[in-house]
């Protein structure tokens, strides 16, 4: 382990900064599904002049922010089972219709968390495959199979310091070759036929620092 890796100082983007950085890359007017965890934070950072419509697969298009304390409704929740609100222009629908939106290719963009992303775009985010794990998949496989563009937002490494961006996933796949871009605390990376193409390093992060924490070659930004 390099000296930097044991550095307790925060290097790279915070969770909020990662979410804000993702939001910058979402085109105006997009229909967006946000996974649980860091992706949920993205809703706070819609850039000036743009409008995104959030889809939650349990049956709401036009999802708004969390309700004020005490004003929530246990029958108005998101896919993470947290209470939310509905914006003007929202609509409710049943599960087959909601997943027709996903599986029929009508959602423009989905932002998900990850356990591992391989250099060919394989995503593992539903199970560690452990013999004792209770398998639980929810809508993750539907989203990666059906949504046109898949962004992943995740810490670059696990809490134990292992790379989450890998040569090949060791965990069970959510979908093969489905990821388009990865946003981490350290970098923005695009999946290309040649592998992990670096798009941008977070402020204060060097190429070497990011490469050391990545399980496959990072292709440098073209000069």
């Amino acid at each position: 382990m390099s000296p930097e890796m044991s550095n307790s100082e925060i290097i790279g983007r915070t969770r909020d900064e990662m979410a804000k950085r993702v939001a910058q890359d979402i085109p105006d007017g997009s229909y967006v599904n946000l996974g649980i965890g860091i992706p949920e934070l993205i809703a706070k950072f819609v850039p000036e002049g743009r409008e995104f419509i959030y889809h939650t697969e349990n049956g709401l298009l036009g999802m708004g922010p969390s309700p004020a304390e005490g004003e929530g409704n246990p029958e108005l929740i998101n896919a993470g089972k947290r209470q939310v609100t509905a914006l003007p222009g929202a609509s409710y629908f049943h599960h087959p219709d909601s997943f027709a939106m996903i599986r029929g290719g009508h959602i423009d963009l989905c932002v998900l968390g990850a356990l591992q992303v391989a250099k060919n775009g394989d995503l593992a985010n539903w199970s560690t495959g452990g013999p004792d794990a209770i398998p639980a998949v929810g809508g993750a496989m539907d989203l990666v199979a059906g949504v046109k563009c898949i962004f992943v937002v995740t810490q670059h490494c696990t809490k134990q310091g292992s790379p989450k961006l890998v040569d090949e996933c060791t965990y069970p796949l959510t979908g093969p070759g489905v990821v388009n871009r990865i946003y981490t605390d350290l970098a923005v990376i695009e999946i290309t036929p040649r592998g992990f193409q670096l798009i941008e390093l977070s402020p204060g992060v060097s190429f070497e620092y990011a490469q050391e924490r990545t399980g496959a070659p990072l292709l440098p930004i073209a000069p």
């Binding site: 007017g29 409008e51 298009l61 409710y92 027709a100 029929g104 009508h106």
Partner: protein
Amino acid sequence: MIDKRVESLASAVADICDGATVMVGGFGEAGSPIELIHALIDQGATGLTVINNNTGSGEVGLAALIKAGRVAKMICSYPRSLNSTVFPELYKAGKIELELVPQGTLAERIRAGGAGIPAFFTATSVGTPLEIGKEKRTFGSREYVLEFGLSADFSLIKCKRADPYGNLIYNKTARNFGPAMAMAGKVTIVQSESIVPAGEIDPENIITPGIFVNRVVLVENPQHESALVAAGVSYP
């Protein structure tokens, strides 16, 4: 910001290209987007494949599009309605192709196309001439045929009320094919009798969520096909 309203019927259909597959809503005259169809006639696209339950009546709306020679192929369940003369004549003359699909299979194929389902099995048409050429399989003790999802480059539909996000509600039995065709069209173009601000349609009552709609054009007083046919109107 999101606003799917377009100014005119002409601009709503401007990019429909020769050879396109076009779904047209309606069952008979109920739900038929006559004004959009007439705008498409004016626009000139030809060699179209059109998906509709019927083939229009008289010489207005879909029948007028067919009469103008713009339709190479119809996919429908019932091309032989009252006052339908344009299609039968062209069909007998060998000038238009027909793919006949049972009505429920047609509806389900359109939904499948919109829902990302490439194919499904159904019992409808088993043991009839319409099973010919279809793959068959037994599930349980019953035979089924394999049918394929249908999608379109453009869908033209009519509704009662819309908002700028493209959320729609329909009127009575004019709903028919509208919701499924909105799902199955790569570009879904809607004529609506009224357009209200976002939030005015109760989110519980929206039939077609805006995600399935690309363009909304206001047609406040749409014409009724039966009235036009009774008056002997021929478009254009």
